[in-house]
Amino acid sequence: MALLEVADLSVEFATPAGALRAVDRVSFDLAEGEVLGIVGESGSGKTVACRSILHLLPGARARIAGGRAMFERRDLLTLPERELRHLRGSRLAMIFQNPSTHLDPLMTVGRQVAEPLIYHRGLSAREARRAAIELLARVGIPDPGHNVDAHPHRFSGGMRQRAMIAAAIACEPRLLIADEPTTALDVTVQAQILRLLLDLRDRTGLSIILITHDLGIVAATCDHVAVMYAGRIMEQASKAELLRRPLHPYTRGLIRSRPTAAARGRELPSIEGQLPPLADPPPGCRFHPRCAHAEPRCETGMPLPEPATPTHATACIRWREVMAQA
């Protein structure tokens, strides 16, 4: 049984020009111990979709416009804020892109790691401190007995991200949402942090949603992948299938625009154009204005991902022809 089942999740932002749909009928399942990658450009709605599950939408202007997110037999989307708050940090956790700004600058790292244990588990300050030292050791912070009392500014970027992970996993959550956890880090540290996340998954059976725009990270870490574009899921499959046999022109474009050793010296291919404005999305398939395979029928209807194979769904109505051309 899936740990998290998201169905038809929609999120809208109220703007002076009217409601803007940042996430449109997004559905995905996440099994125990699975790593799901959500890939997309900036503004594709991947962060908003995940934050809405935790009720962490920015400001009062954003609202969940529909859908369900079943987690442990409860719909997170309709759960009262009070009950959801107790799940956050204990059953559900989130880590963020920029570890430098997401830690409280005036609180010691140890206190920040210990705080969820004190708050959710009722540990005493002394017990929580001891647990924090263990957690820091587990996420690979050197000399945790000393660093537990350091302020975040003494830490490097990678250590800060490790500290943030330690706070997030303190209460042994079942689901961790990692919002571009390595974007602000340099490449060697990136690999270490990703390995740490996978290691935690292996040891505790934690499920992870990894939000990223980097297909290299997807290739290295994820079990399943969902590709988002302009608020919709375009394609969804196991990692191997999606990377080997992409069935959506957008996914193909993304894969093709990755630099590879084979294409060395040649100009990097890119997808022409840019994300459509969400306030005024194009009719039909949202990708069709930039799609090389577009034809008139792409401009009508609103294709949602449909299974091409039992484990591979694509929102492209022309996927057979696209695949044949490849």
Binding site: L54, L56, P58, R85, H86, L87, R88, G89, S90, A93, M94, F96, N98, T101, H102, L103, D104, P105, L106, M107, E115, P116, Y119, H120, M164, A167, A168
Partner: protein, 283 residues
Amino acid sequence: MSVLGAAIHRRLHHRLGAPSTLFYIGAGLCLFWIVVAIAAPWIAPYDPIAQDLRATLEPPNARHLLGTDNFGRDILSRIIWGTRLDLQMGVFGVLFPFLIGTTIGVVSGYVGGFVDVLLMRLLDVTISFPFFVLIIAIVAVLGPGLMSFYIALALVGWVSYARLVRSRVIVLKHADFVLAARSLGFSGPRIAFRHILPNAIMPAIVFSVSDAVLDIVLGSSLSYLGLGIQPPTPEWGLMIAEGQTFIATAWWMTTFPGLAIMLLATGFSLLADGFAEKLGLRE
């Protein structure tokens, strides 16, 4: 003492970087007055209220270093004992407005909406009156004395702290680390007071130090007007008031307490400036 001093120094250094020379002068002056206040019983050469009618209005001399007043009381001893009261006015005069103001500022800024509107209108009403006039009016209604002075300050002085803290809280509540705290499921009050407040309070602390100066001067002014400390208690403002009649013949009665106020105020001001300067550099 030196261990404590070193610890404080390291802490300041850690948070603010190396403090400036002016900061040290200010800290030194404040420390000097604190020591004087604590050691008053041992360092004051005379009883501050003991009259000696054979030695009235003596100019500074070997027996009375700063002279005597019209009742023959030793000015130096009265200044030394007065330090206790004036420092106390500085500390408590700031403490209550600080506590009330920061709490209101955090609540107003963090909760926002109707609560914010209500509290800010209350603030507008309070600051629409001239500060000194309102203080004097409240003290006059409650009756002269230190208690009335503190109550008046608490009722009026909170507004500055509330505004300072509120504006920082409004900025900080959208900070990334606040989002991270929310993602860990903490309650609103916990986030507001444990995560936002410590990050928002520094300007209020800096202001409180210069506010203490104002309170000491204000307390002295009230004593001068007869609304504060009552004679024969030694208090600097009161001493100036009593010396006023003799200003042409016994300048020492007013000059030395005046100097004392000035030196304490300078100490607090430099301390505040030192903090603010470091804070400015940091931001």
